[in-house]
Each structure stands twice: as C-alpha cells, then as structure tokens.
Amino acid sequence: MTDLNIIIGGPQGGGIESAGQIAVKSLVLKGYNILGSREYHSNIMGAHSYYHLRAKEDKPGSLTLPVDALLALDAETVLTHYREVRPGGIVVYDPAVKATRVDSIQPMAPPLKERVKKDLESRGLPTTAEGALKAMESEGVKLVGLPLKAMLRKVSEEAKAPIASVSKTVNTLGLSAMLYMLGVEPGYIEKAISLQFAGKEKVIRMNVAAARIAVEYVREVYGEPEVLPDGPHKGKVRMVASGNDLVAMGKIVAGVGFLSYYPITPSSDEALYLERHKYVKLDDGMAEKVGYDRLSVVAVQMEDELASINAAIGAALAGARSSTTTSGPGYSLMNEGISLAVEAEVPIVVTLWMRAGPSTGMPTRTGQQDLLHSIFSGHGDAPKIVIASGDHVEAFYDAIKAFNWAEIFQSPVIHLLDKYLASAMASLDREELDLSKVVIDRGKLVDNPGEGYLRYKITEDGISPRARIGDAVMYMTGLEHTEDGKATEDPVAREQMMFKRERKMRKVLEVLPEEDKAVLYGDPDADVTLVSFGSTKGVILDAMKMLEGKGVKANFLQIRLLSPFPEDLVADILSSAKKVITVELNLMGQLAFLLRAHTGVKPDSQVIKVNGRPIYDYEVVEGVLKALDGAGRVVVSGGS
C-alpha cells in the first residue's frame, strides 16, 4: 500500500503552487488518488509558502505529518519544516543555503525563529540551515543536495535561453529530483509539465529540459531509485480540482445566471474559475432544446459586499439563479442583505468560505469560525438554510442543491466551506460527479402568474407561487407586508407572515433526505461518537481507522444541515452514543454549543484547533485519546 506524503516549500512567488500542481498531476497520471493543499501567507512575494500533498491508492481524507519527502527551495523551508520529515524520508535542498543563519532570514516570523533557535541550540547544533539539516540527518532523514545554480546554467545552455529566463525552472529542478528519488518515472513528470503549462510551448520545453537535467543529476549521484508501483487508477478520465473549482462547476451545472463578488481570499478563486467558464457553447442538440446556443453567466465584480448581496438579490428577483461568494469579513457586510432575503423571500445562494478571524485575522489560513455567524446572520429572527460540505464531492453537489433549495423554499441558502477546502486539490472520478444524480428543481416558480397575482400568498407549507420581476404587477419588500407585498404594520398580518416564514423552515426539515441533514459513519455501537461539520470529514474518517488500530471503536456523526438544525435526527442518533466528542476549528466550540441548544447533549469533550492550519488525522487520534483520558477540551496545534 502506497501512502506518499510530500511538502514542497519556498518563497511565495517562487512557483510553489505550480510545483505542487505538477506533483499532483504526476501522481494522478501514475494512477494514484491525491489530496494536496497550499499553505501561504497574505503576501504577494517572498513570504514562506508550501504545498502539502498526499497520494494513496484509496482516497486520502487527510493530509498528515510527518512527510516522506521535503523539497526545500530555500533556507526558510529547511528551517520551518525540518521537524516534519519522518526517519527514512528525504529532504531535497540546495547546499548553497547551508550557511544561512536563522536570524538573517527576513520573512521568517520572529516567534518561529525563536522556537527554531531554541530547538537547535538544545541539540547543540548551529542556528543555521545546516543545523536543521544535521538535525534531520541525525534522525535518519536522507539529505539530497542539488546545486541549483550550476543546474540552472545547464538548463540555460540546453534551452538556449539566458539564465534570467530559465531561473523560473528552479522549482521544476527540485521537484523532478524529488519525484524521481521517490520512484516516479520521468515520463510522468514530463507529461505533468506539459499538462500544467498547456499551450505554452516554450515554457514546457524549458521545464522539460530542467526535469531531465535534475533526473540525470540525482541518478548519477544517488543511483537508480526503486520504481514506485503504479496506482490502481490508470486508464481513466479523471478530474483534478480544488474546492473553489468544484463549487464554481456546481454553480454552472446548476444553471447560475448571475454571480456577484468582491475580491476576498479564499473566495476569489471560485469567482475566477467561474468567470473562466462563464460563456459556454452548447452542442447543437442542446441548443435546439433550450433555444439558445451560448450560455452566458453575468459575473460582476461589485464595489463591495453590500453591493454583491443586493445585486444578487435583484437578479434572483428577476428570475436568475443568483449567487454571491465571500468570506467572513465580506459576510459581515452582507448581514443586512441576508435579512432582506429572508423577509422578501428571495432565493439566493451565498457561498461562505471561512477563514481565520476575527477581523482580518489570518486571511489565507483556515478555520470554522463562522458557523454561528452564518446561522445567526441577519437581524430580526431571520431563519435561513445553512449547509456545510465535508469534501470536494459534497462541495460540487451542495452547490447545486443550494440553488434547488433556495428556489424551492424561497430562502437564502448559505453554503459553508473553508479555506482548506477552497485550495485543496483532489482527484475525482467521473462517477463521483454523476449528473444522473442531479435534478434542477425551481420550486414554485411560475412563468405566467396571471391577473391578481399575490407574491406572498399564505399557503399551507408557507411557500407562495413565485413570479419573476417583469412578469406581473407586484411588490417585493423588506418591510413587513401583506400577501400582495404592500407594507403593513398590522399585528395580525405580521404574525401570519412570521409563521409563514417559519413553516418554510419546517418544510425544509420535512423534505430534505437524511443524508443532507446528518450522516452517521461507522458502527452505531461504537465506544465514542465524534461529531463535526465541514471539511474535517475526511480527516475524521481517516482517524477512525487509525483509532481502530489503537483499539478504540469510534463512529462519526457529520452534521450537514446546520440551519434549520435537524434536531430530532441528531438527538436520536446521539441518544445511543456512549461518549460524545466534538471536533471543530474554532475557539468557542460553536458546534458543541448548537448540540446543547438543540438536543440538550453536552459533549463529553471537545477537540479544537485554532492555529489557522487544517486539522490532521493524527491530531484527531491524539485528541480522542486525551479526551478518553478525561480531558474536557483538547487543543491540537499541528502544522507550520
């Protein structure tokens, strides 16, 4: 069984992302499933960034530490990650960085410098990159030095291009050397390079030359490595996409017509990917069926998030499937708009990519701190739908379901995801994005409302027939209103509308299938039940297997629908749980709070992580073991 874990690190702007993607593609071509995510600073150039990757035969649910191989494209990477490589693993580095002192590295965070110096000093090692390399070596890590400067000169000769123009291939040099040492045949690396830079022939040529030079060098110095066996997923048509990509894909499949946004990490890449595909040519057969041959999505960068949400509301009123995408700070600005969408019963989808707060916090780091923020967003008793996706596949389908629910229940739907899922890439099979499972349901949308149309007609399920703006004389408003949408402060009419909106949320709980509310994984009779939501899903599923190896039988309750909260279902499942441990990436224990509020179940322990890094499988294991030892709250803190 292959379980390959890699970190590729270097300065931001130094091609870390593309090296990571080439690694991802090489391993996918080789037949593996991959999971890879980028950790980076809120900075354009120079700060430390790294790509963290895992490849397995089955689906990796979690990234993990320590890794098998570290590619360090600068001294800071060596000094940041030297404690994250397993004995027997390798580090690929440039010997030229050896003499670099911790104190001389400007971008390196001062608290990290202090921690590293203390550690190296305590081992009697110099506080330089060389010290860190020695520390690794003494723990059985193999050092693979690459004279990058000399190699670049060779690339320049080979590609017949000046050094300056080939200097960007330094990431490919390092990456190819590392992948080759890990047993990936050069053919895969070269093919991945061509895929990565498709359409840019010159860039491909330069990088392929670099790959060959690197492979040749390590073969000469370290000999032929043992070939990594091929994975089981060869000969397939697969997709490799990030969470951002998959949400954008889901939206387009769902028929989104309008997307408004204001740039903010980590939502911008979703908008960017959607914009890249906002204009789709339909095949002739389809064009005939729908009556047009070019599908165009109006994607507009607005002046702020206030505009984004209100423009999305406008487009939804006019009949478009309409959405906006943002992160915590932007969502704060959208709050009043959410409340309007509740009161005026507007079907909009708001994609909320959580990042580490409060305030601007750590813009490029992950967290699950906006659970309560999303549920309680909007002033004045504003019930809404909140769904959290656990992984890439769910992110795709949820993006589609969100539009269906928005239109069926005429309500804002908040699709909750996080930075980790946003930037994490995963390999997917065709069956996993199966359109036969997808329906487009527009609820009570009417094309010909006719005379006497009432936008807010009182009905048994609380849902009124919905006409588009432009098809009937009508009034839509955020003021309390009568059935015809005219403003009112009449106490009886007011109450009717309050309960109408409440009935819609009841209906949500009535009609949604259980799999969209809460899902129990594993043996119902387990000794301990882990409860979580969002992107911790894969991590917990992986950790369950590891726990089993340690003799702990755990199951996992994933809460999918956070609002309206499926309290009966969750209470029922938890009633037979022997021990309840929540796992979440926030300080307040926001999910634990909801469990108590809705089911009266007080978790026995909480495992939390708030350092802005994703949670890893071994941390869940560690947390659960400590919790079983009686700890009330376990804080896990892994990652660089």
């Binding site: 109006v298 997808v438 004389v473 408003t477």
Partner: protein, 307 residues
C-alpha cells in the same frame, strides 16, 4: 398617448405629508411612463428606504423595495438579469448619496441602463429631519440643534465625474417639465440621473418652495449638453462644467449633460458574450426535463486528466 397615467396609480394611501414635493415627482413618473407606454408589469421601480423610497408602492409596476442605500445594486441585478425591462431607482439624498454613495458612483462607472431619480430635500425625511449630504453648510433646519457644519455634495457634478451619461436637474413642483426629463432619461441607453429639488415642508424650513423659486431657472436653447463625438466633449466641456457647478443664487434646471457616445453595460456584456441579450439569465431555460444542460467533464476540460 397610449395609456392613461391612472393605469399606473397603485391602489394605496400615499403617506407623504401635505404639500410634500414627492407628490410632484410621483405625478411626473406616472405621466412619463404612461407617455412612454411601458406596460406596468415591465416597469420596475426600485425604491430605497426613506419617504422617497415609498414610491415603490405607489406606482403600479413589478417593483422591489430595497434596503437603505442599496436600491442601485438591487436595480443593477434586476436589469442585468432581464435587460429588456425598464428600471427606475427612486431614492432620497441620504439613501443614494449618504449610505449608498459608493453604489451611486459605481453605477456611473458601469453605465447600466437605469434611471436614478434623486428626491433631493437636503434632509433625512423619514427619520425626522437630520442633515442630508445635499444640505449646504451653515444652514440650520429646524430639527438640527446647531447649524450644519458638513459641506454639501454636488449631486450632478458627482454623477458626471462618476460616468453617468445623462445628467439632469428638475424641480418637484414643475411636473410637466420633470415628466419630460424622466422620459428622456428613461429612453437614454445608459445610466441616467435626475437630481430633483424637492421641498420638504415638514423638516426643511430653509430650502422652501420660495427659496427654490428665487433661484431656479431652465437652461436655454443656446445651451448644448449633448456629446456626439469625443471632439464635442472637449469643445462643450467648459460650458457644461459651468452649469454643473452652478448652485447658489442661481440653480440651473434641465438636461445638463448627455453623452451619447458610450455603450451601456448590457451592450458591453453583449460584446464579450454575444447572445447574452437574446437569452438573458432571468428568463433563459436552465434545464431540460429537470436535468442540467452542461456536463462538467465536457465543459471543464482544463481540470480533466486522462491517466
């Protein structure tokens, strides 16, 4: 005249104070849309929050009432989803230039085909008379505890610099002149703006009907605000700037600036996505027999890998 203005009078009690300038604006809107023969269900009046925003409920249309300050983005979403509709924004000076000032500017940059009617009473009517962004400094209206020490913004100059392609000023009590301005603004393909001076008899006891009557005048036949070419712009700019800046002892009314050279936002969208207008997002079909019309493995080829 194809339709009677009465067809646009919604059955509702109009809640404004007696003598309010808003009545004049409402009447001008009724008459303009009647003369333009816009079917009520194709007319969209998007109101802000304030006395003025209530216009939403008084005009028969397919209307939406926005949050305070957010009428313009809401109208933008509506118009871009269904570009065939006539979209009019009705809002106060607090709404459009105070809390919604950023959107006011952004609409000019986009030149979306929307008509913005500013109910300019220089006070916050609905919240009982606080100073609005158009109240000149040192005026003390009756709800203020001391004279206003904020300078006033010049709405027509702001609209011009933001990129609105039609900029005019009207007077609330001059219904028939205002009606003509509204008609021209609605017909114009692009972002149009009318600053309507609107006495608030309840809270603005300084800028009264009399105060305005002493100052307002209509620009004459000799004033040419129309830009047909870029050369035109250079040539006419000095005279246009003079009119846009004039606000004091004399206040010009009428069309102050009209740029006919620019594409609307919808036309720009059509340029980058031909076919958009024919199958706009609000009305196009998005499924066949309840199934999606695009397959991710066909459309998102940049993420597909054959192993």
């Amino acid at each position: 005249m194809a339709r009677s203005w009465l067809e646009y009078k919604a059955p509702a009690w109009v809640q404004w104070c007696p003598g309010c300038g808003d009545f004049g604006i409402l009447n001008a809107i009724y008459r303009a849309v009647a003369e333009l023969d816009i079917p009520p269900e194709r007319l969209v009046v998007v109101g802000g929050i304030g006395c003025s925003g209530r216009t939403t409920f008084y005009v028969k249309g397919s209307n939406a009432h926005a949050l305070h300050g957010r009428a313009i983005p809401m109208a933008t979403g509506i118009k871009l989803a269904r570009p065939e509709l006539t979209v009019i924004v009705a809002g106060g000076d607090g709404d459009l230039l105070g809390i919604g000032g950023g959107h006011f500017v952004a609409l000019g940059r986009r030149n979306v085909d929307i008509t913005v009617i500013l109910f300019d009473n220089a006070v916050y009517g609905l919240t009982k008379g606080q100073a609005a962004p158009t109240l000149p400094a040192w005026i003390k209206t009756k709800a203020l505890t001391s004279p206003n020490i904020h300078d006033n913004v010049n709405p027509v100059l702001l609209a011009f610099s933001a990129g609105y392609t039609f900029v005019a000023r009207g007077y609330a009590y001059h219904t028939s002149q205002l009606k003509e301005l509204i008609k021209t603004a609605v017909r114009h393909k692009g972002a149009s703006f009318i600053d309507v001076l609107q006495p608030c008899p309840t809270y603005n006891n300084v800028m009264t009907n009399k105060w305005y009557e002493e100052r307002i005048y209509y620009v004459g036949e000799d004033y040419d605000p129309i830009i047909r070419t870029r050369e035109d712009f250079k040539e006419k700019l000095p005279a246009i700037m003079e009119k846009l800046l004039e606000f004091g002892d004399r206040i010009p009314l009428g069309i102050l600036y009209w740029d006919q050279t620019k594409d609307s936002f919808e036309e720009r969208l059509e340029k980058i996505m031909p076919g958009y207008m024919q199958a706009p997002p609000g009305t196009r079909r998005i499924s066949v027999d309840g199934r999606p019309i695009v397959d991710p493995f066909e459309v998102f080829k940049d993420r597909v890998i054959v192993t």
